[in-house]
Symmetry: C2
Subunit: 328 residues, 2 copies
């Protein structure tokens, strides 16, 4: 029924070992290689990847575990990862945890069972804090988020500097009641919060902090509560694109004009942020670079398992738009 390597061998008049070599990079004569290729075409043979992986003990697979595939940041990063992986002849298993530690555990177990070559992972803070250098059975690079210091290779944004840049800009525009709404699940949100706090202190301003599940619906609800209060902030910093969207919706619903009644600045230069009036000031992350660097670190870790742990910190770019312009 299904055609296997034996059928190809028979058709080509060679052994299965030779077929295997001809299809891989083994040493075979040109004449034999052509015979084998003809036999493959004639039989419609497709190698069984499960058998190949089992025997060769090389899964040729990398796992990509992201926190939320609806977040364009992760879609963009994952495209960069996939491009690099397929260019290197590796397949990608994409997993989506929804910021849920239970699902993270599930997928990490799956990675073990797949015997993956390596993993790129954006963990929740809960999971990251529990993972020591030797808790993972495969080479792993953290992305967007870091874990215990020195435990894992990682590629992250300079979150402290980026958040501070937003505060500096708002302060320079004359805003002083600057609030910060940060995600509750990631080390990255904490770092952005720390950068915010440090910068606020530097400007002699009192910090106004709330945290929220990093999705648009939760952010909208929390923003609406906050902005509905009489002593509401006059400017808001939002720690990612989803939270930024939630805040924009809340401002709309409450009838707050941006930036007249409320200035807005956030993270992630998503395609819609320059389309909503008057344009949203954001930190743009080098998404393609993050994905590419993560793959580079992963490949190098696979090559040299014992090399020191590395952390690549990339700078964000501040994109100034109308949402933070001081209205006289």
């Amino acid at each position: 029924m299904s055609v296997g390597i034996r059928d190809v061998a028979r058709a080509a008049g060679v052994s299965t070992a030779t077929v295997s070599r001809a299809l891989g990079r083994g040493p075979v004569s040109d004449a034999v290689r052509e015979q084998v290729e003809a036999a493959v075409r004639a039989t419609g043979y497709r190698p069984n990847l499960s058998a190949r992986r089992l025997r060769s003990k090389a899964a040729q697979t990398i796992g990509l575990i992201v926190a939320d595939i609806r977040n364009p940041f992760f879609t963009a990063v994952s495209r960069a990862v996939e491009d690099a992986a397929y260019a290197a002849g590796l397949r990608v298993i994409l997993c989506n945890t929804d910021e849920d530690p239970a699902r993270e555990a599930l997928y990490l177990r799956l990675m073990e069972e797949e015997r993956v070559t390596g993993v790129i992972f954006a963990p929740t803070k809960t999971t990251a804090d529990a993972l020591t250098a030797d808790s993972l059975a495969f080479p792993t690079v953290f992305i967007d988020r870091s874990g215990l210091p020195g435990a894992h290779d990682s590629v992250v944004l300079d979150n402290v500097a980026a958040a501070a840049a937003l505060v500096d800009h708002l302060a320079a525009q004359g805003f002083s009641r600057i609030g910060g709404l940060f995600g509750s699940t990631s080390s990255t949100a904490r770092e952005r919060q720390a950068g915010y706090e440090a910068a606020m202190a530097r400007h002699g301003l009192a910090p106004l902090i709330r945290s929220v599940a990093p999705n648009a619906a939760a952010a909208e609800a929390e923003s609406a509560r906050w902005l509905g209060q009489p002593d509401r902030p006059e400017a808001l910093i939002l720690s990612n694109g989803l939270i930024l969207m939630g805040a924009v919706r809340a401002a709309r619903t409450l009838g707050l004009g941006v930036p007249r009644d409320l200035a807005l600045a956030g993270f992630d230069n998503e395609p819609w942020t320059d389309l909503v009036e008057p344009g949203l000031t954001v930190i743009e992350q080098p998404v393609a670079e993050i994905g590419a660097q993560a793959m580079r670190l992963l490949f190098e870790r696979i090559e040299s398992p014992d090399q020191p742990v590395r952390k690549v910190v990339l700078s964000g770019r501040t994109v100034l738009r109308g949402s933070t312009r001081r209205v006289a």
Copy 2:
């Protein structure tokens, strides 16, 4: 080094066959099952999925091949597919073709080599038209797009009706120079174009049609050329969310007010479409339902390979917003 089923068997004092049964749904005594589970915990055993798949000839895997993962429509559908798959104990391989027939061929081949249980596929028109009922070695459900009539199960929108609804609305608002910008790669764009043409004819209006690669950059460029002409349309229908975004950008750049200088209506109720002023009129697709129905068709096809081909046609919902309001 790595712990295998033999190590577990030894630790539990049973045969490997018994371990295999205890881990699966084989008949084993409760006492033995507990011993085995204890041995699994003690040894840290993780089954090798490649070996399991090879031996059992059940990949427990479905392939999901989408045209563009940057398109939120496909991200949304893929989440629905994944939820259903993981609930059924199946893994998902997600592939992204970028509307490129060469990449589609590559991934279809990969699906064969993985011996997948089934595939959900959003093909380009080029590939769809080349795929007869028996050209695929695995059960397949087309999604968002259909192929040769009766060749494959599919879940699609009622594209003709949806496009007509947009034309009807614009015509009712008094617009007559209504243009249509459609994607160039999918059967779906063609159907939307057909619905547009029929409705225009019904209203006694002359069709104005252009087509473009279905991405924001190409759509922006084409829209800018079109809208820069003196006899430009006074209203535009855009065949998906990416093209809609491109058109919005072009209108911005040209300084055309919406809807004063240009009315805009499109497909896909993406989160940003109600945020850009004055809100964009769109057809909302039942994305979760599309994913869930596709999985249902796929499961039923796997169950009953010889049942008749089915096509599920879902209705879109017209969401009216300011972008199509007639300004006196």
